[in-house]
Symmetry: C2
Subunit: 351 residues, 2 copies
Amino acid sequence: MKGIRRLADHLDISIGTVSRALNGRPDVNAETRKRVLEAAAKFGYVPNQSGRSLRQGTTNAVGFMIELNPETASNDPFFLGVFDGVQSVLQRHGLDLIILPCPTSEDPLPYLQRFVMRRSVDAMIISATQRIDPRIEVLQKAGLPFLTLGRSSSGKGYAWIDLDFEGVVTEAIDRLVADGHRRIAMTLPRNEINLGYVCHAAYRAALKRHRVPYDGDLVLRAGWSEQGGYEVADRLMRLAEPPTAVLLVYEMMAIGLYQRLHELGLTPGRDLAVVAFQDRANIRMLSPPITAFHLSLHDLGVGVGEAVLAQMPAYAETYPLGLVQKRWPLTLPAGDADFAAPARKGRAAAE
Amino acid sequence: MKGIRRLADHLDISIGTVSRALNGRPDVNAETRKRVLEAAAKFGYVPNQSGRSLRQGTTNAVGFMIELNPETASNDPFFLGVFDGVQSVLQRHGLDLIILPCPTSEDPLPYLQRFVMRRSVDAMIISATQRIDPRIEVLQKAGLPFLTLGRSSSGKGYAWIDLDFEGVVTEAIDRLVADGHRRIAMTLPRNEINLGYVCHAAYRAALKRHRVPYDGDLVLRAGWSEQGGYEVADRLMRLAEPPTAVLLVYEMMAIGLYQRLHELGLTPGRDLAVVAFQDRANIRMLSPPITAFHLSLHDLGVGVGEAVLAQMPAYAETYPLGLVQKRWPLTLPAGDADFAAPARKGRAAAE
DNA sequence: CTGAAAGCGCTTACAG
DNA sequence: CTGAAAGCGCTTACAG
């Protein structure tokens, strides 16, 4: 004999009472509850999750699908910070966060479908959202509450949170133009992830607003890595007319970019103003210090956690956010002295 | 009506036959099986996991616990590569890999205990193994098959795979000494993770063998980050008698270290020979190229996957590895021209 | 080859 | 306040 039955027999009460005591139901004698809780602690009894899930129709778990493909995944601590924030919300309700890593060898769609149809989780967070992402339809048809981290142009009525790429690109270009820059480069990912389209559109719009001509040579699709940054620096500085500033949508590129600039005898900041997407610890030791937007991964995780709970009927009242469709803001620290390159400033002024 | 019942009613056969057909049992009429499979595909029927698990007493999932605490976790793509390798093994048997991220706010022990006692997984892989790690006892008492990634001095009869830190330290020092180095520094983590002890012991043993005196100033506990590498360079080069070589047990430190050396007007390789633990893509653009050991994360993942299956009674016959206790080797590419610093070589020869 | 039935470990109306 | 019973969705001996 095992499980709740054993505990009940040992205490000489029914399994129903044991269950009620353990689950904190009010209709249990205080003394009985005490005995049950003590015995459970003593024997290390914890209800079997499969039995519970089957009976309750809920797994008390939220899935978070990530992709292991390094070309798609932002193969870095981004997610670890977000997971932590999501958990801090879920644990308030006894929900667990379970990460589902889609292997590189498997198609993300059937992978997701398996977990969805098996009802392994009560809700799902998906990431690495593609411009056309069939996963959204799968989730909608299955009626499983979900949130996408990143937007898609597939479907409309679904909840998403995306980093505010428009805002970052727009603010970066505004600031650079204000500092006299006219030739501003930007990096884009090579794959079909939606942020590439969003950034490109925001970039063109911002330039147009400032009446700065668009030059396709300044928009570089590159590997999403330090190495990619190295190549970007190399390609940009070899142009007949190199840019005076660059916006790195993937901040880790700064490491390779700084290095290549040094090799070319150029000084970041002075010879090429660099703005990076996110001010993370990994690039803080660069010198001169890099200008980057601030993002709290933990806060983002909290936002994601609350947003996904808002999609779940059982928690919608507690988190009355409705269908969350939110661009998550990043902030650019004000008044960065190193931001505008003096040399360029002088040149821009002379023009 | 839902689930298997609905499918059975639609086909006008019993749920038992549907189940047998879907599970590939041989005792099903070929025509019947075909009808069942087609109907299942059409309606997108997938067995509910909780129902299955409860009945079978197995979840068909293997858990992989990681820690989100950046001081403990190697907060980087290490795990993503390993996950992929583990999955490639598990998927051969229809098992899923589920990542369990322990939040920074929670104690790893009760966190693990919850999942173990609930029987949410059939086996567990744990990482960030501490020198004294009570999780091992919890897993052993619960009788859940498990593997630790990293060793502990807690307990004996458990399966582990650990990177061969001894081998790396020993080989690195042998090579450096052969190239004339006598003052060789090494970095260690600040926390209680076991690799710190292992590396320190191997370092002392290797020096002793070469009759090189041990100098505590050359063993630096530092932040496990790029920033930590920056600090290491700074502290080392300010010593009255700086080292001529350094072994970075966390390779990403090389980025900060190279930078600080450059700032100090020193040249990596020439003024300080640098050996890094793992030759990963993130540091490949460093110049001069860094000397580092090679490790295939995917292969390691495969090894971990097979080792954990070997601990599970249902798979032990297929993977007759017994109680795996293995140091996973890393290889140092032979004949690296930049390995020994010419200046130092000259000086060493002159001594 | 198929169906009817038992039962995995729980939770929860329902009686009392 | 407690117990007895039903039933969540499956799989699997057991009959036939």
